[in-house]
């Protein structure tokens, strides 16, 4: 038989609507409740628990990271201040030693100059006194010579 009895048949047909409809509806509603308690709730619980766990962990890690960054910045600034302080101390010490060196040099120079001057004066004195003495001796000698010459005559 090729005559597909699509419409209008009292028995059968593609569009034969009967009590299958409400019963199928009830079956689907029942299936909704069964699947809700068997599938959607338990799987949802597990998935949402895990999502919460993951997001908590991410938040924790983010907090820790920001803390670490803060500490790092803190340490860096401390390091920087320590470094600049050390530099200051070093430069101060350098200045100090420089000053001390200059002072000592000046002192030594002065001393040397003074002793040089003293020695020069002494030499001059001795030279002049020796010259005086020489002159005097020369005078004495000349007088002696003169006296002898005069007396021998």
């Amino acid at each position: 038989m090729l005559a597909f009895d699509f419409f209008g048949a009292t028995e059968g047909g593609l569009f034969d609507i009967n009590a299958t409809l409400p019963l199928m509806a009830i079956q689907v509603v029942a299936l909704t409740y069964i699947l809700n308690s068997l599938f959607f709730k338990p799987v949802g619980n597990v998935v949402e628990k895990r999502e919460k766990f993951v997001s908590n962990n991410i938040m924790d890690a983010k907090n820790k990271l920001s803390e670490v960054e803060k500490l790092e910045a803190d340490l860096l600034s401390q390091l920087q201040s320590a470094r600049s302080e050390a530099q200051k101390i070093v430069s101060e010490a350098e200045n100090e030693s420089d000053k001390l060196y200059k002072e000592a040099l000046e002192l030594a120079n002065n001393e040397a100059n003074a002793s040089k001057e003293k020695a020069r004066l002494e030499i001059e004195n001795q030279t002049s006194s020796a010259r005086d003495q020489l002159f005097k001796q020369a005078d004495d000698l000349s007088e002696l010579i003169v006296n002898r010459l005069i007396l021998e005559k």
């Binding site: 009895d5 059968g12 409400p22 699947l35």
Partner: protein, 241 residues
């Protein structure tokens, strides 16, 4: 006539034949219930196995079920919105799973090997009663969703954005279940018929691409049905400003 020259066992397709169950005064399409019970039983066994031992690190079946759950949640959330999707997710998911399992079960299992006194086993969604039942459930759901979420303000939707829309929106309440049910019914029945006719005409190789196409259509129809149901519910609970 060309058709008359075909062998008479072409009618073995048995379009529009049903296995009638008579319970008191009411008559039922037995083949629809038989296949739906087998398929839903398989679905429930599958889900029970997958959720038997839930762990924090999903393995095997649990992984698949979680993927499915996530897929359904995304579908419900994008269509219904963040606020009430949780209430409707089981319903949308059940629609999706029911339609999907019915379509694929109808296409994949060689039901025709089982001989019935009248009619033949096939996808439950290829019966108009099933699809109308699903479509009417969707209609009831979106009315209930709208009324329970917004009270009488739900009917503002009918005059939004202008009162001119009123007759169209009322018409929509009839066309929505009609289009939902006939789209699913037509697609699945057409797929079964095409495969049936091709198998009858060329029993080897040729029906295989059409069968794959049928699987594709079946999956798409399940997705379309669930998405549209979720969209209608979302439309009903949406707040107009």
């Amino acid at each position: 006539m060309f058709f008359n020259s075909l062998p008479t066992n072409f009618a073995a397709l048995e379009v529009g034949q049903h296995l009638y169950w008579q319970i008191g005064n009411i008559r039922l399409h037995g083949q629809v219930f038989l296949t739906s019970w087998i398929l839903l039983g398989a679905l429930l066994v599958f889900i029970s196995l997958g959720t038997k031992k839930m762990e924090n690190d999903p393995k095997g079946l649990q992984n698949l079920l979680e993927f499915l759950w996530d897929y359904i949640r995304d579908l419900a959330r994008t269509q219904i919105g963040e606020k009430v999707y949780r209430d409707w997710m089981p319903f949308i998911g059940t629609l999706f799973l029911f339609v999907f399992v019915s379509n694929w079960g109808g296409a994949l299992i060689p039901w025709r090997l089982i001989k019935l006194p009248s009619g033949e086993l096939g996808a439950p969604t290829a019966d108009i009663n099933t699809t109308i039942a699903l479509a009417l459930l969707v209609s009831l759901s979106y009315f209930y969703a709208g009324l329970s979420n917004k009270g009488w303000r739900y009917f503002e939707y009918y005059v939004h954005p202008t009162p001119i829309m009123l007759p169209f929106k009322i018409l929509e309440d009839f066309t929505k279940p009609l289009s939902l049910s006939f789209r699913l019914f037509g697609n699945i029945l057409a797929d079964e018929l095409v495969v049936g006719v091709l198998v009858f005409l060329v029993p080897l190789v040729l029906p295989i691409p059409v069968m794959f196409l049928g699987l594709f259509t079946s999956a798409i129809q399940a997705l379309i049905f669930a998405t549209l149901a979720a969209y209608y519910i979302g439309e009903a609970v949406e707040e107009h400003h």
